[in-house]
């Protein structure tokens, strides 16, 4: 209800600012449509006029610009301002939201990388630094939103806020998240008695799962989000696992001691490429001679900054790296890459499941936050799904070991044994 009223208010403002569209505005709009390869969209202007991006073909969505400011902000920095204007309701998308965003991602990928505009955008959108203090601030922004919020739409099994693994296409999100943890455990050859170090543990689901189902002696799981660690500790106590699972409210850079297994699922996005060799040094310091390591992270086919709006509003300091960039973690210490798997389509499926559940609980979200937040989060979930569907983002699982370790498995057949 608030939502509708909000829109009406904006329309009134737009009308009072003078409704017409000038000749220069019309020319700019035509140029935008051309640059975007005539998208199959209906564009509704603040004047009420509707323009078809690809005349004669059906539209997949209707896009409404509620005032001329929205239009100019879109020209200035489409990535950043269109996200904000969608959140505030100045920019509306009716119809296939993911399909629309998929078009946007494919369009952005088509821009020449070396253009001055692309370079300037890269500079503008450089991620924030991940110093020890910077990381804490950045992580707090996202992960300390409140456990109750994430509980509404993440899986109920292990509250995993990372890509699931759909071993079979008909799995539920709960089954796929458990399958992910087991897939990771098999890749790491986790066995009874192992000591596991985890860098960035979310709500601690992996640690508890490894302790309960893979018989590890100890998991030391690091995280700098207070809310998450509090939840994880309580949950471990409830499950009677607190003798084997230790949640450490500290930065991964402060890891000490030694482990059989190093695992990091969905933390690398927040590390920053400059800190990759340092992460490698940490792993080199703690991993035993026959230890196994796995890094699971969002990535890219080609180096590019994080989507500006996501970096600003959702994930400050985040950056999805290319495989070549990720190698900076391992090359300095000569770790040997054993296996890389790309789970891009699994993340699209995971995000679809999250968004479906998010919309099912939309009234509860509205009670927690304002309409702007509701719309922002919807755009973030839909946009991320579109990014994985369009190939703008990838999901890499990298398995590695010491270079001289000849006890590594000969084949990967053990991963698929039933």
């Amino acid at each position: 209800m608030d939502h509708k009223e909000g829109h009406l208010q904006i329309e009134a403002t737009a009308a009072s600012a003078g409704g017409g569209i000038t000749r220069i505005e019309r020319r700019l709009l035509q140029q935008l449509i051309e640059v975007c390869n005539h998208p199959p969209l209906t564009i509704r202007l603040w004047t009420g006029e509707e323009i078809h991006g690809r005349p004669g073909e059906p539209s997949i969505a209707r896009v409404t610009l509620r005032d001329r400011g929205t239009f100019f902000r879109m020209l200035l920095n489409p990535e950043l301002y269109t996200g904000d204007d969608y959140s505030s309701g100045r920019f509306e998308i009716e119809g296939d939201l993911v399909g629309f965003l998929d078009l946007v991602y494919r369009g952005l990928d088509g821009l020449p990388e070396t253009s001055m505009k692309a370079r300037f955008l890269r500079w503008m959108n450089r991620p924030r630094s991940n110093t020890l203090a910077g990381s804490k601030r950045n992580i707090h922004h996202h992960y300390d939103l409140g456990n109750d919020f994430y509980k509404l739409w993440l899986d109920t099994a292990r509250m995993q806020y990372t890509c699931a693994y759909y071993a079979r296409p008909d799995m539920t999100i709960e089954q796929a998240q458990i399958a992910k943890l087991d897939h990771v455990a098999r890749k790491l050859q986790v066995k009874p008695g192992d000591v596991v170090y985890e860098a960035g543990c979310g709500w601690g689901g992996l640690a508890r799962h490894f302790a309960k189902h893979h018989g590890v002696a100890k998991v030391r799981a690091f995280n700098i989000s207070e809310e998450q660690v509090k939840f994880a500790r309580e949950q471990a106590k409830r499950e009677g696992l607190d003798d084997r699972v230790e949640y450490v409210l500290d930065d991964y850079r402060n890891m000490s001691g030694s482990c059989d297994v190093f695992v990091s699922v969905g933390m690398l996005e927040h590390v920053g490429v400059n800190n990759y060799p340092g992460l490698g040094d940490v792993i080199n310091r703690v991993l035993k001679p026959h230890g196994r390591g796995l890094i699971h992270s969002i990535g890219r086919n080609k180096a590019a900054p994080m989507n500006a709006w996501i970096e600003k509003r959702i994930f400050p300091g985040a950056y999805p790296a290319t495989l070549a960039e990720m190698m900076r973690i391992l090359e300095g210490n000569q770790f040997s890459v054993l296996d890389v798997e790309n789970l891009r389509l699994h993340y699209a499926k995971t995000l679809f499941a999250w968004r479906e559940r998010y919309e099912d609980h939309i009234d509860e979200v509205r009670r927690m936050y304002d309409e702007e937040f509701v719309r922002m989060w919807r755009l973030y979930l839909a946009g991320s799904e579109a990014a994985f569907l369009s190939g703008a983002l990838q999901l890499f699982q990298i398995v590695f070991a010491r270079p001289t370790d000849n006890t590594v498995p000969f084949t990967r057949e053990h991963l698929y044994r039933t």
Copy 2:
């Protein structure tokens, strides 16, 4: 017989050059032993004196320096000259040859990368250029040695001169080479009717196997080695496959038309990092929208030049790249990496099988070439096995597809279905 006589001649030369060992020579030898971490070796000097690298422990091999020139050449450039001196018989290794070379590789890896010496060696040992003419010259050096020679010790099934895949540890080299071709075919989802382009086809075994057992419509296999192409064409005719297999005596850079599958097994080592973006452009030019690609190549954990002796005497122009370097092939055209597998230990096992067969046919090799060649090839096979065992070399299989192709398989389970 010639072999023994050759040694006697050298010993006589050494004796006539004066037999004693000076104080400075002894000090240099002690320093060398220290730098090499006191290897468990017995070192026999041209004077007849024996020195133990690690006193009190059993030696894994006895190393003989037949004259002082061998000793000084070893100090000057151990990688290059020790190989040559082993070939000529001036440097002898009795005992565990692979074990000795494994020690050498682990020792070399320990040298600091940034030392002036390392930098100078890198410059000295830079690989030769792979221009169109350069490639032809380099490839001729190795692959046109004569098909009869390679037939003596490669597998009799498909004459594969690349890493086999031991799906089960008890496989013969014949079974493992067929298993490799089937593993590659499954990774590429090769299906009846497909058009396959192969860059660097050796004696054409993959092309004939794909045509015979995977029902492809056409394989166009490129190779610039005349001897190999001649053999491949004759063999295809004998097997009645010449309607579906076309061997093209040309550089991969001249590929045109379009294909469903791009495959390259064991060619990248000869491409040169500077030419990687160009290789990516070739693939981008020929691969259909739903096409699949696979590159199989020797690699490294960390960038380093090819072993100087191997580059000079065995494989001119060769270079084993890191995964990050290999990404230069794919990133420019935004190909999406789906899967990377490291088959390092499979190559050690392959090389063991080749060397065993080589030694079984040593009398036939002696009839074809001189003793220097016999020893050179033994050192090359043993040294390569040691390099894979010690982790100095890796073997990567990289599967990739177009970034927007959402028809790629969800999991890799199909690779391991029986």
